[in-house]
Amino acid sequence: MALLESAQEGPAPADPTTGSDRRARGGRRSRATRRQDNLTAYLMIAPMVVLLGIFVMWPLVYSVYLSTFKISFYKAPQFVGVQFYTYVLESSDFWHSIWIGLYYALLVVPTGIVIALLLASFIKTLSRRVAAFMKVTIYLPAVVSTVIASVLFTFMYQDQGVVNWLLSLVNHAPVAWLNSPRWALPAIAVPGIWLGFGITTLILLAALLDIPESYYESAMLDGAGFLQRLWYITIPLLKNVLLYLLVTGFTLAIQMLDLPLIMTNGGPVGATSTPNYYIFNSFRDLTPYATSYSLTASLLLFVVLGTISIVIFRLIRSDKAVDG
């Protein structure tokens, strides 16, 4: 909107000698076209506003309203004010699940980005044909459904699975990967990384290819080594892409549901109970108490996720990329 308006208001009256009537005519015309343009603009954003209104704003407002009731599908709902908010905030399990979500994101996102950056740098050095083959290979996990990946990895982690077989070669098997409170979360983070790094690699590869070769050439002429080139050229120029990957990666990873649901059912002893799993699991409880509780917990999770995104944005100040 601001862009449209500044474009309209931009040109000043051309010639001070042409008289006031011309200016007035011009003003009338500009007002009329402005109104016309505004109408077009509103019409164009209207479908999105309507859809957002139906599927985001209204459910959100209505959920906040409902969260002040003890909901029962069979009896009249009972107004309880902010009682459920205190119940959720008091619950150690809720905070534990937020911690699990953060821990999972910490395991998955930085590792995924580092692996993807290494792979992207490697693919960049390859010939066109080999690079195409590598890109397809790396992207394949992204089209595998999470459910299938979960089942595959569950088999790999069994006592007789391939992971324990490898460990048995160095006499360390079997580890009850999915049934040990210590190893369960790292064990489900592995398929999490595997599923995600295909897209991350392609995005980073595109960003790497966008950095002009001339920068590297002049740096090399000045005697910069690989690490210096990485530190002074590649990473600064990838900053915006990395920020995007971090923010989307973190918010997605904290919301992980499928892997713990299928592989560990949130266990053992809540070790993989991510926030979404925790909320889903409280919803699955058949008591009316659980309905209001899971609703309130999901609203509070929304606040927590928003806060985390703001913190990441603050920590890494996003600059406009220096264009090459």
Partner: protein, 445 residues
Amino acid sequence: MSKRRSILALVTSAFVASSLALAGCGSGGSARTEGGKTVITFWQQKFEDYQQTWFKKEVDAFNASQSKVKVDYQVVPADTWAQKLKAAQAANKAPDVQTTNYGNIAAAAANGELADLDGLMPASAFADIKDNVKSFVTIGGKHYAYPMLVEPSTVLYYRTDLVAAAGLDPKNPPKTWDELIAWATKLTKGKVKGMTIASVAADLGWSSWGLQYNACGHLPIADDWSKSNATEPCYEKLLQFYKTLYQGGLMPKTPKVGYADASPYGQGEVAMMADGSWAVGQLKETFPAMVAKTAVAPFPSIDGDQTKTTATLGGWTLTVDAKSKAKAQAAGFIQWLLAGDPAIMASFFKASGFSKYTVRTSVDQALAGNPDATSDPFMKVISAKVVPYGKQEPAYPWDIALDFGTAIEAAMKGNLSIPAALKKADGQINDVIKKQSLAGTEPTH
């Protein structure tokens, strides 16, 4: 100003449109009909395969037997049951008839979810229910469910061939928890583990009820539901028992299936198994070669006293939804299937390989002439030595059972020491009591 007004207008119209759209989703009116027949939906939680076959056959028979009601039969997997049911309840589309287990009746009735069946089914139907089961479906003198079967939750199965090979006496199974651990230790050889028992909170929550009774004589909550009893020292022995089995490597640490599934035993991965009586049906059906090599005994007791409870008597009923628009037709279907011709339920118990118990006197009479019903060696042991000491499943909300199950799991997997795990469960159970206002709400029969 005009910009603000138009934005306001847009947002308002968006809200109006959305409210209209949402209002359109609501349902109302009378029962669904199809070709002049009233349609009632029936959700059955997925059980052993033969049960689905039996239900399908009987529903078809019911639909063919009359021209007024059509039952729309749907099988719902157990792991998606709760969320599917809740979503349906929220949308006012809960099934007219559904399978409900004994443990859930009280909570559902207290929440007004179940229709009172007394006015909908004849009194003679309720008179036919055996005395020991009557209280399972009665709350405040009213019947909220019609029972289908009873099955004890915890029985010991063991491989006679492996036991003999390990130098133990198959005719003299373990009677105490210590003896059981000694057996499990001797039977753990190579890839075969000595024992399998529940190891995740969701399974431990219910499958350990019998053993909770065994350890302390009661469940970890006061009789009037006013406070938790989870820190009583007797429970420490129970947690120690599970912990020894798990940490001693006497049971599979990464089980592929839940407690109720007898596959690891059937596939020869373990020498002993704690499972419900339903496992008899699964062994006969899926692993017939195992039947000859298997013996059944009451689950060992904390002190060897075999008259102490080791199992709860679980089982399933059919209930009618309180909001059903065709309550009479729904109850009519239940009456036909569970309370009508005894031959129908007799055919069910036959299909189950007699691995479950009848709940009606008339069905017992119908089966009296069937030698299979009384001659099964496994069921003889379970009838004589387990069922008489079995207790009813608790009626308190599942959260409490889950908190205690989590304590057992935490002790098994070494997250917390046994006293710390029980202390945590104690706090959580008291928290559930407070937040769900449970004190004094225990149901009366």
